[in-house]
């Protein structure tokens, strides 16, 4: 219902960074299969634009994922999963949504081979993702890695992909939602865990140059206001103080605050935001405040209590 409300309000593209379907890489009983099918079906009904293949999407093997996702219309991507050295899934897709061209590259973890699925390999993820991204860069407005890899690999991808990827959305370590880390020229975001929250990233790509995080601008602005107030307060104390030792201490504090303020002003975050492409992240926790779809809730309840309520 939350996604529907957002779609009613404006242009929305729904994505999944992977590790969506199974509790573990070994969940392969009938109940786990039925639940995975339900999740994929609902993702299809919600018009998920793309999903990356994570280790916990492969519990029933790549063939199950390939066939079921095709049946329900969920594009599943992986730039580095191979079987007998041949790609299993498309590496990327380009979606034009509301006039914005979005490039999406799926990244899976390195897998040395699974006993149950011989021939299956996850090639080195960063190298494969960068090779795929190079084909798309310049042809899209924004380029995103759906990275079902470790946080360390996601950071490496962000670093090596500076100027290539705009966002690396990571899943696989249950970090929770809400982390948006700026690196040199792009951002790494944690995708969430156990269906407890949905991340919402508002993009305005009308400008040019590196993306600017509007929350970072607001934090800098608040810090600047705080410093200005502190400087004023210390100045008043200096004016009323006669003890030379205390006066010296105040003056040192004042000099430190003024130095910090000068650095903030030189950085001038608000000027950086002018004419730039911007992003703002918000998190919606899927608690009682968000209405459930009654028919879907009945289906989900068959599998036990939902994660957050």
């Amino acid at each position: 219902m939350y996604v529907k409300q957002l779609r009613d309000a404006g242009p929305v593209l729904l994505l999944d960074a992977g590790n969506a379907l199974f509790e573990s890489t070994f969940s392969s009983d009938g109940k786990a299969k039925a639940k995975a099918e339900l999740i994929l079906r609902v993702m299809g009904e919600m018009k998920t634009a793309a999903m990356a293949v994570g280790a916990r999407d492969l519990a029933l093997g790549p063939e199950f994922l390939l066939q079921t996702s095709r049946k329900v219309g969920v594009p599943v991507l992986s730039a580095n999963l191979t079987r007998d050295s041949k790609p299993i899934f498309p590496a990327s897709t380009v979606v034009t949504a509301f006039g914005v061209k979005v490039g999406l590259v799926g990244v899976s973890p390195a897998i040395q081979g699974l006993d149950r699925y011989p021939g299956l390999r996850g090639e080195p993820p960063v190298r494969a993702a960068l090779a795929e991204a190079a084909k798309l860069r310049g042809k899209v407005d924004v380029l995103i890695a759906l990275a079902a890899v470790s946080w360390a690999d996601a950071l490496q991808l962000s670093k090596e992909g500076a100027g290539v990827f705009d966002f690396v959305i990571q899943s696989g370590e249950q970090r929770g939602a809400g982390v948006m880390q700026r690196n040199d020229r792009n951002f790494v975001l944690s995708a969430g865990e156990r269906g407890r929250a949905v991340s919402k990233l508002d993009l305005d790509l009308s400008g040019s140059g590196p993306l600017v995080d509007l929350a970072e601008i607001e934090r800098d602005r608040a810090r600047r206001r705080n410093l200005e107030m502190q400087i004023e307060s210390v100045k008043q104390r200096v004016a009323g103080e006669r003890d030379p030792a205390i006066l010296k201490s105040y003056q040192q504090t004042l000099a430190s605050f003024q130095d910090q303020l000068q650095q903030l002003r030189q950085n001038d975050p608000e000027a950086r935001a002018k004419g730039a492409r911007t992003a703002r992240l918000a998190i919606q926790f899927l608690d009682e405040s968000v209405a459930s779809d009654p028919a879907l809730k009945a289906e989900v309840d068959k599998y036990g209590p939902p994660p957050a309520h």
Binding site: P11, A17, I39, A177, A191, R194
Partner: protein
């Protein structure tokens, strides 16, 4: 009904492409909201 003066009709005609562009949103801000999650590990929230 008084016919529209020719001059203002021509002006409207000249403006028409620009008005059409404004109406269908072309040339307007490139805005998009990405909604995403991951790592759901076989869980599904019916309110999502």
């Amino acid at each position: 009904m008084t016919p529209r003066p020719l001059r203002s009709s021509l002006l409207l005609l000249a403006l028409a492409p620009a008005l059409a562009l404004a109406a269908d949103g072309a040339g307007s801000a490139k805005k998009l909201t990405l909604v995403f999650n991951g790592d759901n590990g076989g869980e599904i929230a019916p309110c999502g």
